[in-house]
């Protein structure tokens, strides 16, 4: 398992292909970004709009989770391969964090 190069055989063919791929990737990123802005807007509007509390709270939480997924899978490339261990550990961390929050909302009384 010494250092290894991940360049494949023919650099110039590879190069064109990669350029194109990167560009496509970037377009996806832009779309994701637009969506994120959009979601943010909706969340703020939902709050500004004085809707029923029991609708707004779960709704904006849902939007936050969707944004999280966008960030992770697009901006942070978690969908690319080589991210198996990272996602396992990130989700485990999220699980621990979730349990902590759940506990603090239920069994820390005042």
């Amino acid at each position: 398992m010494a250092n290894q190069q991940s360049n494949s055989g023919n650099p110039s063919v590879d190069y064109e292909y990669r350029r194109r791929k990167n560009k496509e990737d970037m377009r996806m990123q832009l779309t994701a970004f637009m969506l994120m802005i959009f979601l943010t807007l909706i969340a703020f509007i939902a709050v500004a709009g004085d809707f029923d509390k029991y609708f707004v709270l779960p709704f904006i939480l849902l939007l936050a989770v969707v944004q999280l997924v966008f960030q992770l899978y697009y901006f942070m490339h978690m969908s690319h391969k080589g991210h198996e261990a990272p996602s396992l550990f990130l989700y485990s961390g999220a699980l621990v964090a979730f349990i902590t929050i759940l506990a603090f909302l239920t069994i820390v009384w005042i």
Partner: protein, 209 residues
């Protein structure tokens, strides 16, 4: 293979951040670190939620009184856009375009700095307008700790990116510093993720009540 080998756009590998073993290790280690950070912020959120609106009987600054939508919105936009600009920087990193990468990073840094400035203004506002301070109540302590920890992460991220930009201003990209740029950008996104939850859980949910 040496880390400071020179490259052209053509010889530049597809995933420069993971092209060396060192890069791979850093990449993996940093993701794990983010896993730990998730627990750290989860704990801070938990504390905040447990202590939200817990104030001594004679004090009145509650979440729904102090927060302000436009301010939170502005901050959110700044940070969201800076996340995109750092994606652009990485795009150019992958294409071995050092100049553009540096330019986008600079924009990212500026946006981040604006965010920080806004946050400082905001804290100041709460202190002077509502007497809502770090020591005034458990609510205050938990609010400033959560948001302040995030702010400290932003500050550290800025410092990190600026250091990287300066240090590598002259020598360009190589397989030794590419992972570093990549990690800094991951870090920046992570900060943004945390902010998504801060604006939702602290500001929006705080205003809903």
């Amino acid at each position: 293979m040496h880390a400071d080998e020179k490259f052209t756009p053509k010889t530049w590998p597809a995933s420069p951040e993971k092209a060396t073993l060192e890069g791979k290790n850093k990449f993996m280690g940093f993701w794990f670190f983010l896993g730990g950070e998730t627990v750290l912020f989860g704990s801070l959120f938990a504390t905040y939620l447990a202590l939200k609106d817990k104030v001594p009987s004679d004090s009145h600054a509650l979440a729904k009184d102090i927060f302000d939508l436009p301010l939170a919105f502005l901050a959110t936009m700044l940070l969201l856009v800076s996340s995109l600009t750092s994606v652009y920087a990485m795009y150019h990193m992958k294409n071995y375009n050092v100049k553009r990468m540096q330019a986008w990073l600079l924009i990212t840094v500026l946006l981040g700095a604006a965010f920080l400035a806004l946050e400082i203004y905001e804290f100041n506002h709460y202190v002077h307008e509502y007497g809502h301070t770090f020591t005034s109540s458990a609510f205050g302590s938990s609010f400033y700790t959560l948001v302040g920890f995030h702010g400290a992460h932003v500050a550290f991220g800025l410092l990190w990116i600026v250091t990287l930009m300066l240090r590598n201003a002259k020598r360009g990209l190589n397989l030794y510093n590419a992972p570093k740029f990549y990690l800094a950008s991951l870090y920046w996104h992570f900060i943004d993720v945390v902010w998504v939850f801060i604006f939702t859980v602290v500001y929006l949910m705080g205003m809903v009540g």
